[in-house]
Subunit: 328 residues, 2 copies
């Protein structure tokens, strides 16, 4: 068997990253199977390149929700080996990329894009530096929390989310502090995988809408943008489903015994924010370099997509503005 | 498209049931897709007939663990529509049948035997009479509990089991008392499916070993034999993993606050026995017609297989004897 290596995928990949991967695969004479070894960016480029290689055209032809969207009718087998624990792309129907010409983070999706095999090997994640461990870990937590409170949640996705939230709460600090701890690394990989299974079936909420609107403007790691928005969106959403947020507080390790549901719900986003701080992530949009003058554009994009998500509370343009400003 | 109906599958099917189904399918000129509409017996006959139809020979050629076992290398697509909520066969790698010549309940297994689609429609289960609802529901609970305490459990199977146990504890009484309650029926179907997913990946314990040894001797519904053995085996196993059994007690709705782990563990099998009684199932082997003189044969069969299961505690022949006698 011949092995061709397509290397050099950038973090938060663009249409150009995908074109380059397709070209490299064509120059190698095609492929029988695609093996992706990397984080979400690598797995997503593999998914996108697979779609283009097998179905022709360019990646924007398959963009989710685009006018004249073409179906992804065939794909090469894809084996995914994640080297981060966060995106869950090894378990999802999604592949995310940036279209720089529109400053827009967008995606393709199909049930067939779920990799045929996912190999969760903690040894592959131990060299991940602390800040990447932290950002990707908060990405997994965001998936699990957003899927858990989604209006499309079902008992199966709920069960996956409950376990994933608990695993992140119990293991992320250790994985960041001691990257060689294989137990913590294993649990983070499993949490990320389970959260990916969950949100592929239950959709996500507006943390992702707001984070991806930001991701079209700035090459900030996706997990970091999620971590920035997550506690603020949780606070905004809590009134829609306080019982769920009270459960999240308990899963995050808070002692909710004796607390009212509303108080327990409040403990949930405080616990998430504390975790995000303790693993060393930035806490404001300003810290990651977001410029005030870009907010209007980000708000417009987020406003267009917010109510297509599974978010438990209806979202108006002014809500989005307020959430961004609180996080600023 | 032509539709051929292969009807008349008996509960707790035998090699004869499978031969008859294969013959009917051959007489119909083969098939493009198999749709099974029924309980575990129907879905399992469909799986077995599919294996024989596509790979030749007879069903015993594919028997799990048999000498000279042949691989199941191809299968027709299989769409399963369960009409009971218990076996989880729509989600499993297993198909169980009786070989009357050996008075032995045996199985085939392959990852490819998982049906390609499962349609969980609660309307299909509302005509199930209370005693069938009770027996099959206890089957789902047995799967969830045995998978949860299995030595092969992993975080993914654990998450599925936790939810499945909770769903059965909260919905089985209602489903038995008011068969038309679509909410309870839906939750039981989902519990059964999730428990099936779990035990296909984590294996089961000796409740199944003891129940199937009995099932080779008597045509007692599989769920009823499981319900009979379950509390006794839980009591036997509790010392191996008391924390897990304490969790089961909580999931069964017991107030374990303040109880020691051992006391909480004890509450788990008492809660299971109480549920089994309240849904009207028999509580002793004598009640279902087991003859004392058959115990020796059943013990010998169970002894041969017990330690191949995922049971959390090692099992000796005298343990099996004692458990059967306690249940007698």
């Amino acid at each position: 068997m011949d092995l061709s290596v397509v290397a050099g995928t950038v973090p938060e990949p663009t249409t150009d990253s995908i074109n380059a991967a397709v070209k490299a695969m064509q120059e190698a004479g095609g492929a029988d199977v695609i093996v992706s070894l990397g984080g979400g960016s690598v797995m997503d480029v593999a998914k996108c390149a697979n779609a283009v290689l097998m179905n022709g055209g360019s990646i924007l032809d398959y963009e989710d929700g685009a006018e004249g969207q073409r179906p992804i009718s065939k794909l090469l087998p894809h084996v995914a080996l994640p080297t981060t624990a966060g995106t869950g792309s090894e378990a999802t129907i999604w592949a995310v990329f940036i279209d720089p010409s529109r400053r827009f983070k967008t995606a393709i999706q199909s049930p067939d894009l779920v990799p045929d095999a996912a190999i969760l090997d903690p040894e592959l994640t131990i060299t991940m530096p602390p800040h990447v461990t932290a950002g990707t870990g908060m990405d997994a937590l965001t998936h699990a929390i957003e899927a858990f409170v989604s209006i499309y949640a079902n008992p199966l996705t709920e069960a996956l989310c409950v376990k994933a939230i608990e695993l992140v709460a119990r293991n992320l600090r250790t994985a960041v502090a001691d990257g060689g701890d294989l137990g913590a690394r294993t649990n983070m990989l499993i949490a990320s995988y389970m959260a990916g299974l969950a949100f592929s079936n239950s959709s996500l909420g507006i943390v992702h809408t707001l984070a991806e609107a930001m991701g079209g403007y700035y090459r900030i790691p996706h997990g970091v943008t999620n971590a920035l928005m997550l506690p603020h969106v949780m606070e905004f959403n809590a009134s829609a489903t306080p019982g769920r947020f009270a459960t999240i507080a308990r899963l995050m390790g808070e002692d909710t015994g004796g607390a009212t549901t509303d108080t327990a719900a409040e403990m949930s986003w405080r616990a998430v924010r504390r975790l995000s701080e303790e693993v060393g992530l930035p806490q404001t949009l300003r810290q990651v370099g977001v410029r005030k003058e870009d907010l209007t554009g980000m708000i417009a994009i987020a406003d267009k997509w917010a109510n297509l998500s599974g978010n438990p509370r209806d979202v108006k343009r002014e809500d989005i503005e307020e959430i961004y400003l609180r996080a600023y």
